[in-house]
């Protein structure tokens, strides 16, 4: 079962919840936790995991062959990222940081002066818990972008693809990085005979392309929020995205006794998305959080229980 932990606002506790829930579930299941908050992944810090680089994430970066270039400037015209700088009668050049690897310039060049090159824009890591946490059944995979990279959703996708291929028991971690032009849609494959009962996907904040890529193909999304006007505002946004994506969703209210819980209850009623669990705001939780320890709390246990009792959506279709 693939469960995304998401929520409109930053700082509501997605990482805390993801790691705590992963630990809780791993007492009696094999759990794969995938951190695709690739700009600032934190789960490995909370879980104090080992850190092993599995693969580079590469994106296409065109390379010029000046011998063939006609100085026509077409490559610069089609580039919507303004990554190709062209001055009349000069050879064009590329600003690698701006290029998102779409390949349009390659397609338009009349003389074949552009070749497919690559740039490393991030990496996929894996780690096992080092802390004396009883669980052997928890593997963490996470993605990290190179600083300055703007094409972050490719790193999300690639991290997910790696994780899912491990989950399906299909390929080893060392498998070569997917070809840049491939149309791998492994995110939508149902892992068959997976050694992992649960795949938790910890997304970035917001509703942008990163989050969308993280949410594709999940069976359930947990939308984490807090009972403040800001929390409500951001919850509305993520709920409307999940609606568009037709993803089943349950709401988790974090810091539930801080602020005005009615705000969220009202929204839950109006939108018909149920609240599955409320997690209180306790000094102890905050303390653990600040010392980067995962939280063990009754409310997390309850949440894990409710999740294991949910019917697995999508199974019956097969």
């Amino acid at each position: 079962m693939k469960i995304a932990i998401t929520g409109g606002k930053g700082g509501t506790g997605k990482s805390t919840l993801s790691t705590s829930l992963a630990l809780e579930l791993s007492h009696s299941n094999n759990v794969l936790l995938v951190d695709v908050d690739v700009e600032c992944p934190d789960d490995h810090i909370i879980l104090s995991t080992t850190r092993e680089r599995m693969a580079d994430v590469e994106s296409l970066l065109p390379v010029f062959n000046h011998d063939k270039c006609l100085k026509c400037g077409k490559c610069s015209e089609v580039c919507r990222e303004n990554a190709v700088v062209f001055v009349k009668d000069r050879y064009p050049f590329i600003i690698s940081g701006q290029c998102n690897g779409c390949g349009a310039c390659l397609l338009v060049c009349p003389s074949g002066a552009l070749k497919e090159g690559k740039q490393v824009i991030g990496a996929v890591y894996k780690g096992k818990c080092q802390r004396n946490i009883s669980s052997e059944n928890l593997l963490l995979i996470w993605g990290e972008i190179e600083v300055g990279c703007e094409n972050t959703s490719l790193v999300v996708k690639s991290t997910k693809d790696h994780a899912l291929s491990i989950a399906s028991g299909k390929s080893s971690y060392n498998s070569k990085f997917q070809s840049i032009n491939s149309n791998i849609r492994s995110s939508e494959d149902k892992p068959l005979n997976s050694p992992y009962e649960y795949i938790l996907i910890d997304t970035a904040a917001g509703t942008h392309c990163n989050v969308i890529n993280a949410l594709i193909g999940v069976d359930l999304a947990l939308a984490v929020t807090e009972p403040t006007p800001l929390g409500k505002h951001d919850l509305e946004l993520i709920l409307s995205l999940l609606k568009i994506m037709e993803t089943p969703v349950q709401i988790v209210v974090n810091k539930a006794d801080m602020g005005d819980l009615n705000l969220i209850h009202q929204l839950s009623q109006d939108s018909n998305f149920p609240i599955i669990q409320e997690i209180p705001y306790e000094k102890d939780i905050l303390k653990k959080h600040s010392r980067n320890q995962p939280v063990t709390h009754d409310s997390i246990k309850k949440l894990a229980n409710s999740i294991s009792n949910l019917p697995i959506v999508g199974k019956e279709e097969q």
């Binding site: 509703t207 392309c209 969308i212």
Partner: protein, 308 residues
């Protein structure tokens, strides 16, 4: 005019709290404009107590394009008559936004994944694909109750291109700033270090880093610092929730000292900050006692900026 960008890497570290209070303090003696650069989940206006209906203007913005198979324009047609089912477009899309629909014998474009790069068009032998501009965001201008304007964007749910929206917000804010001859423009950046944050930081005069004494916030902060260094922007730091974890707070202090990043101030951990947020008031307005803290940050920030 000086542009100050407030960023933290990690979400929830206190950017909006700091931005709101700092803006209110600065506005007491200066003309300023505030910009919420988190177009994906904007909340600076809310933190400043400005409701959506109080915005003076809100216009729609087209900073993105999407590809579509031409038949979409002519709804009565089930198939695109131009498409010859060559499948070239499938190979040309590097974002897996195009899939094959075997029932219709035609490609299908997933709007959520299309970046509007235009590669598929170039590869289609029959020009069956076109690009169309989409309204992907709105941009609003409002007058806060504290004597300054705020420019705030809102990306449509499921749309991408927040970097370009941030650029549009900055252009709008600069125009207002010129009209009123503002002294400061304050940008509240999004979380992370991706394209919207890059668009906020690029060309700023000063970066204000907010962090809290947790290992996670620290890890994210280091990335934000790397980004700032990448663009060569001078910066200073503020530690929020000082006291939640004393040992770690001192560790942070050491880090800043070793990296020549001036520590402009510390914000204590206090439940009243949360209450201020819940009551939609800037912290310095909700609890005037907090003024000392923010005055110090503001003063230090200004004197650091004068050194540039």
């Amino acid at each position: 005019m000086k542009t100050i960008t407030i960023l933290s890497g990690k979400g929830g570290a206190g950017k909006s709290t700091l931005t709101a209070s700092l803006a209110v303090m600065l506005a007491e003696h200066n003309k300023i404009v505030a910009v919420d650069c988190d177009a994906d989940a904007p909340n600076l206006a809310l933190v400043l107590g400005l409701q959506e209906k109080e915005f003076e203007s809100r216009e729609s913005l087209k900073t993105g394009e999407k590809a579509y198979i031409s038949r979409k324009k002519c709804q009565s047609l089930k198939f695109c008559p131009k498409c010859q089912a060559t499948k070239h477009c499938l190979d040309s899309c590097n974002y897996s936004a195009i899939t094959w629909n075997p029932e219709e014998g035609q490609p299908e474009i997933n709007e959520l994944l299309c970046t509007g790069c235009g590669a598929c068009l170039l590869n289609c032998p029959t020009k069956a694909i076109e690009l169309e501009e989409v309204e992907n965001a709105t941009i609003g201008v409002g007058n806060t109750h504290y004597g300054f304007s705020i420019v705030s964007g809102q990306l449509k749910v499921g749309e991408s291109g927040s970097g370009k929206v941030v650029n549009a917000l900055r252009i709008k804010a600069s125009k207002i700033a010129r009209e009123i001859n503002a002294k400061y423009m304050i940008l509240d950046a999004a979380a992370g270090i991706g394209c919207p944050v890059i668009a906020s930081v690029r060309g700023s005069d000063y970066a204000l880093l907010v962090t809290e004494p947790t290992p996670m916030a620290f890890s994210d902060l280091k990335k934000a610092i790397e980004l700032i260094n990448h663009f060569n922007i001078p910066c200073g730091a503020v530690i929020n929730k000082w006291g939640v974890n004393k040992d770690f707070s001192y560790q942070l202090q050491d880090y800043f000292q070793n990296h020549q990043i001036p520590l402009l101030g510390m914000i204590p951990y206090d439940i009243r900050f949360v209450e201020a947020l819940v009551n939609l008031k800037p912290a310095v307005v909700y609890e005037p006692n907090f003024k000392n803290v923010f005055t110090k940050i503001m003063k230090n920030c200004r004197s650091e900026m004068e050194k540039i």
